[in-house]
Point group: C2
């Protein structure tokens, strides 16, 4: 707000952005922060390095985000929040079709990673790892109701005899992450294997979809048993 | 060797173990190191804390492991090496049966975690995460041939028309890790969901097995198409 009126009046004050539109510089600082955090870890990345990456002084970071803790809050709210929103939308729009929902979620997760290539690295280091600096912040924001709807959709499919009864309906969401976000996060390891060197994100998504959708089906024999019971 | 002859002669020298059998103290130091590294991260754990955890002085760690880097080498060789050996055994004993191999691998991985409960945390933080302090050490020791045999066994099953042709045979190993080690590493997150709070390692293994074995099968329709081709 202050910066906007400042721009209108054309008065320049020390430590405030001038050359770049406010929103754009703020986004660029967030981009630099997420990339550097993903690459080096949050603890190993000083605020001054984020500013230098964008070509401004540390004062800019303090202007937009006040403190380091607040910067982490903003990353969780805006960037990880975008991921959570995308996944939640997929679950809310599932329309009682567990197969369509799971397929859609794989597409949404891998699609979000295309837009935010730093996400898997940041996620495995700062959320999935014990002591990760974003874990508690993310847990606070976990949409418990959305996860409940996901599991309820799968469980209803099991009751109708359409979904593999051997699956844990609520753990299946963790499996989707384990077959998408996880392999994308550790691609530097499996790309050491010559047989996997050339595999891209799309290949990972196709494999995950094939395994999940097939793993969710009920075999002919099981269908018969269910009906005769 | 030196310490053994020392015990035999009964001569005590400064900085060497006396009260405890050599092998036992070394094992206890390794146990403490893996537990503390898993909990806090390697970078955040001083050698003195590992020694204090076992009730000895830092000199003991230096006696057994010389340097911090050498201690990390030993953890990878002996502890992670045990995990790699268990997995490799499972693949080498697969006997051309991809389904039996995958089921056995799930059992072996979850069984190893029962013996080494610190493994998933240490693995996700120090191997799976970029910049993890054990990653390079582990990559050097990855048994490329074993992974090749794993994929070849799955690919042969696909050629025989027994295994889902939509799967990437070599990526399937990463999927097994994503459905076992990964959920065990992030259990503190999903246990926030009331529907998953009570789920144990065995439940994770059963779900993984159900998804993998079912996901690997070929449906009746696909079998027919394959045969007619």
């Amino acid at each position: 707000m202050g910066a906007m009126s400042e721009r209108k009046t054309g008065i320049r004050r020390r430590g405030r952005p001038v050359a770049t539109a406010d929103g754009e510089l703020r986004e660029r600082l967030l981009n630099a922060a997420t990339e550097l955090f993903a690459e080096q870890g949050i603890a190993a990345t000083p605020m001054s390095q984020i500013a230098a990456h964008v070509g401004v002084t540390s004062a800019m970071i303090h202007y937009y985000f006040k403190t380091r803790e607040r910067l982490l809050d903003v990353i969780v709210e805006e960037r990880l929040g975008q991921f959570i929103a995308t996944v939640s939308e997929g679950i809310d729009g599932a329309d009682d079709d567990p197969f369509g929902m799971v397929q859609d979620l794989v597409t949404r997760i891998v699609g979000t990673v295309e837009q935010m290539p730093w996400l898997p690295s940041l996620w495995i280091k700062e959320i999935a790892s014990d002591g990760g600096q974003l874990r508690e912040r993310l847990i606070e924001r976990l949409p418990l109701n959305v996860h409940k709807r996901f599991g309820a959709c799968v469980a209803a499919g099991q009751k109708r005899g359409e979904v593999n009864p051997g699956l844990h309906p609520y753990l299946l969401f963790v499996s989707i992450m384990g077959l998408t976000m996880f392999p994308l996060a550790v691609s530097k390891i499996w790309k050491q294997f010559p047989t996997l060197k050339a595999l891209g994100n799309r290949g990972v998504a196709e494999h995950a979809t094939a395994l999940l959708l097939h793993g969710m089906t009920v075999s002919g024999a099981e269908k018969k048993t269910r009906k005769s019971v």
